[in-house]
């Protein structure tokens, strides 16, 4: 008990929480945009890999860090474009197409990595984002600007969603595409736009891993973070503020298990600690599933003219 209190008072702990949460915030906001528009995007896992890779590659080849972020977003957007071609323009199963995108994006990234670096002993390193030491806010000053960007995106997306005509159309298209179509708004373009934007965020979430959290690209570095985001959005009832809360809560447990692992030592197998975040995600889903107000048109392809 005492240990937990000490943990909560520890600045370094919260620094870690926020760092772990950052890619999840990007990813969950990305999923939010897609699902609010009525589209499940299981491509997220692969898109994060691709974003991590292209962002890193850009910087490695001499681009600036921010150019790397932009390229990662662009990469995500391209895969989002492909996904929307499959599930918006063509009414393919969103589950299967998303998994296909994940496989495609992941294998393409690994392939490209190997073509570019056929024989490397250790992964090449880059100079990653520096902490914002100039910022006079305690925990935040030990984060990179990408974390700040992630935090700023939460109210921004909230504003767009609830205070602009575009956001209204987006919320409506995930509820009832006919309502949107009958007002002369193009359902397909709206959904495509949402998927592309959401996927770009997922790409940036991946890039955080290579450009801020670590300084190189290695295989399996995304390691299920994408799937976590898909779970978090249900927990967050598709709201940006709750998505932030969910990401931080998840990161809290993840950081706590790291600490407990170190301090608790051999009392319990370390795998149990590692399992904890996944188990908690499932529990959270069970708790909210019954009353979850899924966007009503989620996973339903829209075929123009059909009822």
């Amino acid at each position: 008990m005492n240990e937990i209190l000490l943990l909560l008072a520890d600045v370094d702990f919260w620094v870690a929480v926020l760092r772990i949460a950052t890619p999840l915030i990007f990813g969950t906001l990305g999923v939010l945009l897609c699902e609010r528009a009525g589209v499940l995007n299981l491509g997220i896992e692969g898109i994060m890999v691709a974003g991590a890779f292209t962002g890193w590659l850009t910087v490695y080849l001499g681009g600036s860090l921010w150019l790397g972020v932009c390229i990662a977003a662009l990469t995500g957007a391209l895969f989002g474009m492909l996904h929307s071609l499959l599930v918006v323009r063509l009414p393919l199963s969103q589950h299967v197409a998303g998994l296909g995108i994940t496989l495609f994006a992941t294998s393409l990234s690994y392939y490209t990595y190997r073509v570019t670096f056929p024989k490397v002993e250790s992964p090449p390193k880059i100079e990653s984002f520096a902490e914002m030491n100039w910022l006079p806010i305690p925990i935040l000053s030990q984060q990179t600007p990408l974390t700040l960007l992630a935090l700023a995106l939460v109210p921004t997306i909230g504003y767009v969603l609830y205070r602009t005509p575009l956001g209204l159309a987006l919320r409506a298209v995930g509820e009832n595409p006919q309502a949107v179509e009958s007002q002369g708004i193009d359902v397909m373009r709206l959904r495509t736009g949402a998927i592309v934007a959401g996927s770009a965020l997922m790409g940036v979430g991946g890039a955080f891993l290579t450009l801020a959290a670590f300084n190189s690209f290695f295989f399996n570095m995304v390691n299920g973070r994408g799937w976590i985001c898909v779970a978090l959005i249900v927990f967050a009832s598709w709201r940006p503020g709750k998505a932030l809360f969910g990401a931080i809560l998840f990161a809290f447990f993840d950081a706590a298990q790291l600490r407990l692992q170190q301090s608790g030592g051999g009392a319990l197998p370390y795998q149990l600690y590692l399992m904890l975040p996944y188990v908690l995600s499932i529990l959270a889903l069970v708790l909210v599933a019954r009353k979850a107000a899924y966007p009503q048109a989620l996973m339903q392809p829209y075929v123009k003219g059909a009822r």
Partner: protein, 503 residues
Amino acid sequence: MVSSLVIDNVTKQFGGLIANNNISLTLARGEVLALLGENGAGKSTLMNILFGHYVADSGSISVFGESLTPGKPQEALARGVGMVHQHFTLADNLSVLDNVMLGAEKLARIASGRAAARERLATLSSQFGLTISPDALIRSLSVGEKQRVEILKALYRGARILILDEPTSVLTPQEASALFATLKRLVTDGLSIIFISHKLDEVLAISDRVAVLRQGKLVFEGATREATKASLANAMVGREVTRIQRDGGSSEKELRTELLQLNNVSADCPDSRMPLDQISLLVRAGEIVAIAGVSGNGQSLLADVLFGIVKPSAGTVGAASPRSTSSTKKQSVARIPEDRQHTGSVGDLTVWENAILPRVSDSRFSKWGWLKRTNARAHATALVKRFDVRLSSIEQPIRRLSGGNMQKLILGRELSEQPEVIVAAQPTWGLDVGAVAFVHQQLLDARARGAAVLMISEDLDEVFALADRIAVMSKGRLSDAVSSAHWTRESIGLAMAGEALAA
């Protein structure tokens, strides 16, 4: 005076089918034009062309003197044409204000003008007597209120021409009169209205002029006061309409056998349908009992309970016949669902698989868990022949069948078992006249044979044409079933609105 809307020689062909054949129509300012026609007569195609969803093969449409560019959905809306669809196009989890504002502002705007929008909505509401709370969520509204939102939506976007597609199909007679009053106000204000319907009484009551479509052609156009119910019906159907003849009631002796009983059945549903509140009903051999009511008052849940899809939370459903026992799923009960595509059939399965699906455990069609495919196919072939189902092969997925043929197959599947009890929910929903007559005849034949028929219907004409006794459903409760002779349209309307039950 410039006409509000001119439809000039519009033709549209789908494959071999001419959906609109050289149709010309005009709509004057301050006029209600009724557009009459059966399903498939070409009404919705014409409206889809007007709204740019389809592009006409030839012909043009102009609004207030300016012609519309084909294939631009925005344009009709922008020029002041609004449409209230039969199936509402509202987003359930958004507020009234959200729904009204949807699409009314340029998407690129950086901020919604919500305060101004709220004010404008309030003004419109009071101007036309369409009161509604702007912050209410759509899913909390009644059907009539939702329709009001649809009309407000159109007015908010500056509609001067309002098109209403089957607007009364979901309303009580009283709600319908309120709607008519609203429409009169709109017309006085200078709006023009196209009123799409197939209910002749309404058309005669509300419209100034009538246009009738049949098989894609405009077959009649003229002032309403020069038309009669019979002349319109003939124009619509293209032949003399023969009413189905119902012989007198069955003998008292037959009627004594009670075949279907519902005792204080209550049920809740996880989705937001109206729950059932203590429903009791008896249906006896040789009679048709109809459950009338406005859509959304619990009929669909009641049907699900009768069909065995939903378990009642209290009370019992019993088919109390010598041959069957507790459940309505037993063989001697025929079940005809409202929704043939999503309930009555499994679209991706073949016709023959669907023909046996509810009785697959029957020894005719399976043994030790193995399907008797030869028997099943033979059974399906026989059904297809006997009930005149038009198809190319029984190996087709059933979803490729037309609605009427699908319904014939389902009817055949259920009625060929010589059922003692028949439960039919909206059995003629969306069928053309020929198919409706066929279904009605089958139900009457079953009654003559001594079957107990329970029919749930929202179509009062159908209810009065077939039923021996009628019960009315309102807000999840069911009135007593009373001989149809005791009901008038007036009294049934009050009961549908829940008045009679409260008293």
